[in-house]
Structure formats: structure tokens, C-alpha cells
Amino acid sequence: MTAMVDLPPVRSRTGLQRQGFIRRLFSEYGQEIIVLSAILVLFVVVTLINPRFISANNLTTIFSGNAYIAVAAIGMAMIIVTGHIDVSVGALIGVLATISGTLAVAGYPIWFAWLAPVVVGMAINAVIGILVAYARIPSIVVTLGALSILRGGLISVTGGTWITDLPPDFLIAQKRLLGFPVPLLVMVALTVLAALWMRYTAFGRSLYAIGGNAEAALATGIPIARRTVAVFAIHGAFAGLATILFATQLQVIQSTVPPNLELTVITAAVIGGVSILGGTGTVIGSTLATILFATIGSALIFVNVSAYWLRAVIGLLILATVLADMLRRRGRG
């Protein structure tokens, strides 16, 4: 990865202390602010066209139905900040959902069915992390292999059958707490915790150091290999948490996940401002970007755009956001 470090200008989070608050906010959270503004503009415009857009039902669909993507994107953001990538997370969520559902149906305690995907997710991704950190195989290669293994394994084992008759207590994503859907609360809580952890703990800061300049990080005494394994394991735990929200949305668990789920998760992290070159970005951005995608998808339905054009519009918006971000960075550097 050393060859990549000296490429384009990277957002710096230091040396800006003497500038004004607003300026600092923009230079540190520029991308997050752009994404948030896009969400707000979309909400206002679409609501003016069709007031039913902000009905409680639709808001629940937007925020709660996509919370699992945001949770998975938190782990992905950490991986990308560290300078790695994971293209297997979609397949992993599929495997974990089947494990969790099978345990729940088999009569194991509900807490055990929820805990299992988190633990298994950590274990699987720790193995990936070991291959990346100690066997020195690039993360894209390892996770490409893991994608095939997990996807193939899932279908071989389940034969494509659905899991039905899930116990009602298991379906936590359908529940509400203090009037809010549980997935929404989980998403917000995890985003805030992860953001604080990444900004204020030594471990969290070290991820930026590793992603920004691995050699310099090593020189300052950061145990890069161990941290890499750890961050993959943490990412696995977030995939496990995302699985709980995903698997308990409906009364059944299918043996497939939405196609290209891993790309959606990666895109959310990147559009949220995580530099694919490593070293910068926040999980606040990745969560906001997930909400932006969900808002766009829902908005298109409400302004009567054919569902067949949905992906084209989303693709165009992703491209526009990326280009805007690049121009903004270049304007400063």
C-alpha cells in the first residue's frame, strides 16, 4: 500500500486549530455536511411535490428499513480508514442471518440467536484479518475469495430454502422503544459510539494513522498487524449486529441478501467521506450516506419515476457526489 500514499491530496484534520469554528467544521466535516444538505433538500423538495413523503410510515421505511446497511457501513468505514477493503460483507450477512434464524427456530434462547451472528462474524473476519496482516495477502484478494466461499457455502448448506416460523420475540427489528423503531435507535446509538471511539481513543486514532501512512504508524510503535486483525474482527461484529436488524425485519429469512449489498455498503462509506486511500473519514458520514441512498430511492417512487430508472438515478447521484468531492478537495489543495 505504500505506493498509494503519495497520490492525491488527503484531508488533514490537524493544523487547523487557529481557524474559525465554521471554517474548521467545513474542512473537517465537509463531506458529511454536503450529504446532510442533500438529504434535507431532497426532503423539502419531495414533500412539496407529494406531502405523503413525510408520513410516519414512509419515514419508518427510510430510516428503519435501511438501518442494517448503515450499521454494516460503520464497520466498513473502519476497514477503509485503515486502508483496506472488504467485498465479502454482503455474503457474510447472508450466512450470519441463516445461522441466527436457524438457532432461533431450533428453540435456542433468543439472546443466543442474537449473540451468535456477532461472535461468528468476529471469528470469520478475524481469520480474514490474519490472512491480510500476517500472510500479507491484499484485503481485496482475501475478501474476494471469502465472498465466493461464503456465498457458495450458504447456498450449498441451505439449498436456497427460506427459514420460516421465526419466534415473535426474535423479530426485534419490528419492535418499538419509546415510540421509535428499534433499528433506528440502534443505528443512531452505534453511529455515535463508533464516532466517539474513533475520534477520542488511542485505538481509534491509530486506525487513521495506519491508513494514512503505515510506515510512519509502525515507526511510532503502533502494532499494525494486531490492529489490522482487531479492526477486521470489529467489522465482523458490526456485520453481526447488522445481521440481527436484517434478519428480524420480516417473518422469514431468505437464503439470499439484496444483490450487490457489499457494494452498497462500500459506497455508503465512501460517499460519506471515507477516503478509499485510507486515513480519513467518519462513521457519521457513512450513516448519513446510507440515509441519503434510502431517501433517494423513496423519493423517486413518490415523484413517480419508474422503478426501472431507480439505479440509474442513484448511480448518477453517486457519481455527482464523488466528482463534487474531488473538485472540492482539489480546490483546497
Partner: protein, 315 residues
């Protein structure tokens, strides 16, 4: 030094291929027949064409995730230009290839002009091009092509599947370009050290722009062959093919960080994957089990190759 390590990986892989072919031929007497092997050549042409272009792209340290979507878009356009726009089929196919090439060119512009990292640029266009394919097709498929069109995808020329000739020709031309021309050496230089290449006066941006354009071209040619092979167009054609192509390229010894890789390696990687897919299915292993094994082979092959050449390679 570099040359020696290249030879080593490909020799290792070729050995693995021989072993796999031997083991698979023991498992089923239908595997090692001329008819079956030629048919496998037919099936791997589309991934093969894309993988050849991808070898160049990855050797510069880039990646192109949008090829599957370009394939889908070009396939849809072949049908739409022919049936809805009323063009003669050769013009319709040429038009679709032109649009696919343009899509690749657009990738190149985004990557070189706007300096968007290739992974992100092609991730965005993956969504965009697939979205265009879906929007244009409105989930309708186009069928009923004239009989002569199937010559490309379903018939033989001199006893060998037509498209296999195209793949072989493309592989030979591409390996000569990559190994022996200034332009091919530039690809390695850019992949090894982009900054140094630029200071050495190499046309880094032009090279990259040409490569992403070529990648789009390869994907859209693959699209026309695909349509001819399966006699229909659908907007989800080619989804996931980018991962198959990247697997073949990386398995073939091309470094994902650039600067290293050969077409021969990619072709061996491709044959290995296709042999595993076919041989195992003949031996009674279900397709999903095969996918698992390919994933494991990818990781193990890179692991083994890393162990053999511990020194001298970048981390």
C-alpha cells in the same frame, strides 16, 4: 529478479492446472473429451475477453468494477437498436459496442481528469450503467435474432467454437502488446511507480484513458458474444462477471497493486477456474460447492505464491 518471480508463479499455476485436469479426468470420463473441453472454451470467452483487458488495468494499479454493467448495457442496446430502432443487426451490434466503448472512455475520463480513485469511479458507474440498462430495457427481453447471428456464439469455425478463436486472437495480440511494445512496458511502469513514470515523461494519463476505454470495448464485445450464445438479452446480464474476471487475473499472478502480471498467467487462471467449475459439476459437486472451492483456490494460490517469493515483492 522480477522476471524470475513471474516465471515462478505461472509455472506453479500451470502445474496446478495439470494436476486439476488430471484429477478431474479421473472423476468423470466425460470431462477430458475434445467436445467437452471445446465447449468449456465457448463458455469462458466472455470472462476471458474482460479478464485480458482487466490484466492491463490491474497492472497499472487500477481496477474496473463496471465491466459487468457495461456488458449488460451493451447487450440491452444490441437488442434495442435492432428491434426498436430497426437497424440491421450488424449495425446494431456495432452501435452497442460503440456505446460500451464510450462508457469505458467515460470511466477513463473520470479517473484521469477528475482524479477519482478507480475503485470508486467504477463503483459509481457500475450502478449507473446497470441502471441505464434496466431503465432502457424496462425488464423486457429481446429474442428472435436471425439464424446467421448465432454463428458467433453457438457454432464452430474449423471445428472450434467461433468465439474461442476471438479469445485466442485477443490473448495473443494482448500478450505481444503487454510484453514487447513500449506501450506495454509503460503499463508496468505506471503500476510500479506512477509518480516516477510521470517524471520520466511517460504518458501516464493517456495510457490509463486508453486502458479503461479498451476495458469498455472488451466488455461490450463480450456482450454481443453473450447475446449470440444465449439467444436473448436481459438487463441483468453479466452482473458479477467483474469478480470472475478479477479472480482470474489475480489468480494468474497479476499484482493487485500493479506493476506485475502477464496475459499468459491470466489465461491459465481462467482455464483453472473453468476446469474446476466444469469438472466438479461433472463429478457431481453442485455449482455452489464449486464457487466455494474457487474462492479457496484464489486465497491458497496467492498464499503459496507469497510464501515462494517472500523477498523482493512490495508489501
Amino acid at each position: 529478479m522480477a522476471l524470475r518471480s513471474l516465471i515462478r508463479h505461472e509455472t506453479f499455476l500451470a502445474l496446478l492446472l495439470v494436476i486439476v485436469l488430471f484429477v478431474l479426468s479421473q472423476q468423470s470420463d466425460r470431462f477430458f473429451t475434445v467436445g467437452n473441453l471445446l465447449n468449456q472454451g465457448r463458455l469462458m470467452t466472455e470472462v476471458g475477453l474482460i479478464a485480458i483487458a482487466m490484466t492491463f488495468v490491474i497492472a497499472t494499479g487500477g481496477i474496473d468494477l463496471s465491466v459487468g454493467s457495461i456488458l449488460g448495457l451493451s447487450a440491452i442496446l444490441t437488442g434495442v437498436f435492432w428491434q426498436n430502432a430497426g437497424l440491421p443487426l450488424p449495425f446494431a451490434a456495432a452501435g452497442a459496442i460503440a456505446v460500451g466503448t464510450l462508457a469505458g472512455f467515460a470511466n477513463g475520463v473520470i479517473i484521469t481528469r477528475f482524479r477519482v480513485p478507480p475503485l470508486i469511479a467504477t463503483l459509481a458507474t457500475l450502478a449507473l450503467y446497470r441502471g441505464l440498462a434496466e431503465g432502457i430495457s424496462q425488464a423486457r427481453s429481446v429474442r428472435g435474432y436471425p439464424e446467421w447471428f448465432y454463428l458467433l456464439g453457438q457454432r464452430d469455425v474449423l471445428g472450434v467454437p467461433t468465439q474461442l478463436w476471438i479469445l485466442i486472437l485477443a490473448a495473443v495480440v494482448a500478450s505481444i502488446i503487454l510484453a514487447y511494445t513500449t506501450w506495454g512496458r509503460t503499463v508496468y511502469a505506471v503500476g510500479s511507480n506512477e509518480v516516477a513514470s510521470r517524471f520520466s515523461g511517460l504518458a501516464v494519463e493517456k495510457t490509463k484513458l486508453a486502458l479503461y476505454t479498451a476495458s469498455g470495448f472488451a466488455a461490450s464485445v463480450a456482450a454481443v458474444i453473450f447475446v449470440s450464445r444465449v439467444s436473448t438479452t436481459r438487463s441483468d446480464m453479466g452482473s458479477g462477471i467483474e469478480l470472475d474476471a478479477i479472480t482470474a487475473v489475480v489468480l494468474g499472478g497479476t499484482s493487485i497493486f500493479g506493476g506485475r502480471g502477464t496475459i499468459v498467467g491470466t489465461m491459465i487462471g481462467l482455464c483453472l477456474i473453468q476446469a474446476l467449475k466444469n469438472g466438479l459439476s461433472l463429478a457431481g459437486v453442485k455449482g455452489d460447492g464449486t464457487i466455494m472451492l474457487i474462492g479457496a483456490v484464489l486465497i491458497l494460490a496467492i498464499l503459496a505464491s507469497n510464501l515462494f517469493e517472500r523477498s523482493g515483492t512490495r508489501t
